[in-house]
């Protein structure tokens, strides 16, 4: 399997992709771009996964229909309004795709549309359509503009790209994402757009994405609230010229590894930039009797408000980790559990066989004062492992989400 190398360029790294972001006016404040476009110069195999929330943003419904044939050319995304719980939401999303299709000379069915922002606020397609000419005119190597335009209360853009080889041909893949937070806080919508010039069939692309997401984006939790607008899409336009990946094998494995490198990097960025977060929490579970047990335990730990608040306070309160494992619903033997905390400052064991072990509070405090904390849980019950990502629970999370909408 070929090496995966980190490179620059985000969603514009792969051949044949350009991007841009402008301020069109969905957000009244002109301090930030609010409309992003990613374009492939040729048809791309496309796949997406969507929120499981029964309340779904209108753009998701429209995108799902457009991706039925597994092909797309463009992604358009606004921030500032989620276009959700609006009576005319579908119409707005379809009008947007139709206008973009006409201006780009592509089929509206080849447009992926997404929105993030306040739910249930009246919305109009007018600013989006009004902004399209400038958006298209400025298309180029503008990954940063697109990454900024999809942000809400994110404090930094989230972008990554890698290169890898398929059959001796260099391929590239890049992604941008927005994490949790909004200027008008409403819900922590997660949006991820990935592009690659690797030639891969829609079917294999869909399989790769679905399989990867269950181990990556579905293992992030900022606050346990599943947004109505979450969506992850990947467009693969084949511009690299590799032999098409249309079945299992070494090439597909390499592609999966590249995809996983991109998605894990974005997961870590999203979790670290969770609303109000000061720390990235990573929980690695080993020794589980099956994969689901490992995942359930890892996610329960990073979701626990008490654990998250303890990490904010640099408090080695491992009882909260045990507690979160205990109520996770996973079938574990609590008398076997071991827990350690690790960061750049070192590693410390705090619990063995389900009971506390003496440890230096001073070292624990130093370890938990770093901005990336690894919580290591050993279940000593099998061979399976999993990782989940989250962030600490801080005053600022409450401030951001307690602020009045207007």
């Amino acid at each position: 399997m070929s090496d995966i190398k980190m490179i620059e360029g985000g969603v514009c790294a792969a051949k044949g992709f350009t991007a841009n972001g402008v301020h069109c006016g969905v957000r009244k404040s002109r301090t930030k771009r609010d409309l992003a476009l990613i374009l492939s110069d040729r048809d791309a195999a496309a796949a997406a996964v969507y929120t499981t929330n029964l309340v779904k943003g209108a753009p998701l419904t429209v995108t799902k229909k457009h991706l039925e044939n597994g092909v797309a050319r463009a992604v358009i995304c606004n921030s500032g309004n989620a276009n959700t719980c609006n009576a005319n939401g579908i119409e707005i999303a379809e009008t947007t795709c139709a206008a973009l299709g006409e201006k780009l000379g592509i089929s509206p069915d080849d447009v992926v549309v997404a929105s993030t922002g306040v739910i249930g606020e009246p919305m109009s397609a007018e600013p989006i359509i009004g902004g399209m000419d400038g958006l298209i005119a400025g298309l180029g190597d503008h990954n940063e503009y697109a990454a900024e335009a999809i942000m809400t209360t994110d404090t930094k853009i989230k972008s990554v790209a890698v290169s890898f080889e398929i059959g001796g041909v260099e391929c590239k893949m890049g992604g941008i994402s927005k994490g949790s937070g909004m200027i008008h806080p409403n819900m922590a919508t997660m949006l991820v757009f990935i592009t690659t010039d690797c030639a891969v069939s829609s079917e294999m692309l869909g399989r790769a994405l679905k399989s990867d997401v269950s181990e990556t984006f579905n293992m992030i939790s900022i606050d346990g609230d599943t947004s109505t607008n979450d969506m992850v899409t990947v467009l693969a336009n084949g511009a690299a010229g590799n032999k098409l990946i249309d079945s299992d094998g070494g090439d597909f494995d390499t592609f999966m590894k590249a995809l996983n490198t991109v998605t894990v990097a974005l997961c870590r960025m999203i979790a670290a930039d969770g609303e109000g977060a000061t720390k990235l929490l990573e929980c690695s579970v080993t020794g589980a009797k099956d994969l689901q047990t490992a995942k359930t335990v890892a996610k329960s730990v990073v979701c626990s408000s008490l654990t998250k608040a303890a990490m904010f306070g640099a408090d080695a309160n491992w009882g909260r980790v045990l507690c979160a494992i205990g109520y996770s619903g996973a079938d574990v033997d609590v008398t076997k559990i071991g827990v350690s905390f690790e960061s750049k400052a070192g590693e410390i064991e705090v619990c063995r066989n389900g009971s506390g072990v003496p440890f230096s509070e001073e070292l624990a405090k130093a370890i938990l004062s770093e901005d990336e904390i690894l919580i290591k849980v050993s279940l000593m019950d099998g061979e399976f492992s999993s990782t989940a990502w989250g962030c600490d629970l801080t005053y600022d999370y409450v401030r951001i989400n307690g602020d009045y909408r207007t």
Copy 2:
């Protein structure tokens, strides 16, 4: 069915029950009592429900064994240490029961033992046993002392009592509880001790408690973290002299109604005094197609961090309520959902048929600025209803739980 009247006296209201609370030294600070005792002057039918957390406090294991025969005489409970994840936890709990049994001249098997506080801290039975003589000597009409002794970071004691009639005989029932919070924050253990002089068989008492808890205490959420030490117990000593309730019928219905009055009052007190809480949130769901749907939706709303933070900020951000319904897992038709907010300041409709309706932001702000908020959700899909209780998410929740343990 007889009327249920609110009376004074808490767990000492019912005939034959005395209580006390002292400082014994499990908590080093002498600012608060830390050991509570409730005694019945005769054998009482007893029932309990316990946390579903796989990590269970040692006292729960011991109490469960003691209540196998459905009979108890006394309840002893310390705060300051949860006696959980300690290698010698069972021994400490059993030693405590043995010592108390000897001093009171009752069987150790008739003692209910409970603990709340930090997990995994080394503990000794010594201060508890040392405090017993004073605890027993001071037994009397001291409901407040007992209620204080089981508190951790609770800001007020939680006590309620009612009187009701069974077959023309006046019976009384009272309860105390502790809610979420600890001086050494660790987990939001909920403990509830209920006493009644009503004559009721162990079997019917167990049925009543189990049925009631599923509608009351299991419908509270402070932070989604299920403690290792949660426990609700009820002792019924028959001192009132009513005809024994040993089957279904009008008397059992009255008993259930009295029990429900006590438990709902305690639920509201626990939720309103959640860690850092400034507001009691009550979510009432009506029009559900079945009971489980109503319960799932109500609980998802009061558990949503985003909804809780919005309520703290008096923000009528109903999209968060819709979102929490959508990811609850309940099978609902989102296009039918209606949402209103209500408090002493009035009521306001914010969502109908799953979409927003125009409303006065000023009135909404006034309604949500009160300290008891009712979130009314209509599913328009059937006849079932349910209520859940919670509290807002505040800076103080983070402060309390981010503080270092020592």
